[in-house]
C-alpha cells in the first residue's frame, strides 16, 4: 500500500516537474472544455437531451445562487467564477474515484508510483484554488464598492476598536486561504487513504459504502467551496458592511 503525502513526480519537462495530480487536472479541464464545446456547438430553440440537462443545471445553479446573493444581477456577475469552481472541483473529485486512479502505476524501488492521483489530494492545487478564491473576492469588492471603501474594512482610524477589528479582518483573510485549502485537501486526501485501506483489507463488496461516501463527499466539498466563495463575494460587494 503506497500512501504518500506529496504528489509523485512522473517526468520533468525542461525542468518543470509533471506530477500525477497535474495529469488528472488536465483530464478534468479537457473533459469540461470538450463537453461545453460539444454542447454549445448547435444550440436549438427546442433543446435536445444534452442541452436540456445543461440548461437544467444552469437554472438550478442560478436559483440556488440567488437565494444566497438575493439579487439576480449579482448572480449573473458571480456565476462564471462560482460555477467554474463547482464544476471543476466536482469533476476532478469524481474522476478520482474511477478504477485505475491511484492503483495503476510504475514500479520504482519496491513501491509503485501511481500514474494518476486525485487532483485535490495535492495541497498545491487546493492552495492555488483557495488563493484564487480570496484574491477574486478582493478584486470583486474593489471594483464594486471602490478601493477606499473596501480598504476601510481593513484599515480604519475611526476608533481604536475599529482599528483592532480591521487587523482581525486581515488575519481572517489569511485564515480563509488556509481554511479553504485544508478543508478540500483534507477531505479528498483522507478519502483516498480510506479507499486505499479498504481495498487493501477486503477487496470485494466491503469498499462499496466507502465509494458511495466518496461520491457524496466529493459533491459536498465542491458545493461548500463554491458556496463559501459566493458568500464571501456577496459580503464583500454589499453596500452596507
Amino acid at each position: 500500500m503506497n500512501i504518500s503525502f506529496l504528489p509523485e513526480n512522473l517526468i520533468r519537462i525542461q525542468g518543470w516537474p509533471i506530477t500525477n495530480t497535474l495529469i488528472m487536472a488536465w483530464f478534468a479541464m479537457t473533459f469540461l472544455i470538450v463537453f461545453s464545446g460539444f454542447v454549445t456547438r448547435r444550440l436549438r430553440e427546442v433543446p435536445g437531451k444534452v442541452q436540456c440537462l445543461v440548461e437544467m443545471f444552469i437554472e438550478e445553479m442560478v436559483s440556488f445562487m440567488t437565494t444566497v446573493t438575493g439579487d439576480k444581477e449579482k448572480t449573473k456577475r458571480f456565476f462564471p467564477l462560482v460555477a467554474t469552481f463547482f464544476l471543476f472541483i466536482l469533476i476532478s473529485n469524481w474522476i478520482g474515484i474511477l478504477p485505475g486512479v491511484g492503483s495503476v502505476g510504475i514500479k520504482h524501488q519496491e513501491t509503485i508510483i501511481p500514474l494518476m492521483r486525485s487532483m485535490n489530494s495535492d495541497l498545491n492545487m487546493t492552495l492555488a484554488l483557495g488563493i484564487i478564491s480570496v484574491i477574486a473576492v478582493q478584486i470583486f469588492g474593489i471594483t464594486t464598492v471602490g478601493f477606499f471603501k473596501h480598504a476601510s474594512h481593513f484599515i480604519s482610524f475611526k476608533s481604536p476598536i475599529n482599528f483592532f477589528i480591521g487587523v482581525l479582518e486581515i488575519i481572517s483573510e489569511m485564515a480563509k486561504v488556509i481554511s479553504f485549502s485544508f478543508r478540500l485537501f483534507g477531505n479528498i486526501f483522507a478519502g483516498e487513504v480510506l479507499l486505499a485501506s479498504m481495498f487493501f483489507l477486503v477487496p470485494l463488496f466491503i469498499p462499496l459504502p466507502f465509494l458511495f461516501l466518496e461520491i457524496f463527499v466529493g459533491f459536498i466539498q465542491a458545493l461548500v467551496f463554491s458556496m463559501l466563495t459566493l458568500v464571501f463575494l456577496t459580503v464583500a460587494t454589499s453596500k452596507n458592511h
Binding site: V68, F182, R183, V193
Partner: protein, 75 residues
C-alpha cells in the same frame, strides 16, 4: 520508546482528540436544524442550505486535526 511507536501513538491521539468537539458541534447544529424544520416545514430548503454551510465549517476543524495526524504518520 522507538520512533515508529511514538509516531503511531501521536497520530492516533491527534485525530482521536481532534474529532471529539467537532462531532459534538455538528450534532448540536443538526439537532437545532431538525427542530427548526419541525416547527416550520415550509422553510426547510433555506434551513438545509444554512445547515450544510455551518456543518462544513465545523467539519473543517476535524479535517485540520486529521491532516496533522496524517503528516505525523507519513513523514
Amino acid at each position: 520508546m522507538e520512533t515508529e511507536a511514538v509516531k503511531a501513538l501521536a497520530a492516533a491521539i491527534a485525530i482521536g482528540l481532534g474529532a471529539m468537539m467537532p462531532g459534538l458541534g455538528i450534532g448540536i447544529l443538526a439537532g437545532k436544524a431538525m427542530e427548526a424544520i419541525g416547527r416550520n416545514p415550509e422553510a426547510a430548503p433555506k434551513i438545509q442550505t444554512a445547515m450544510i454551510l455551518a456543518i462544513a465549517f465545523t467539519e473543517a476543524i476535524a479535517i485540520y486535526a486529521l491532516v496533522i495526524a496524517l503528516i505525523i504518520k507519513f513523514t
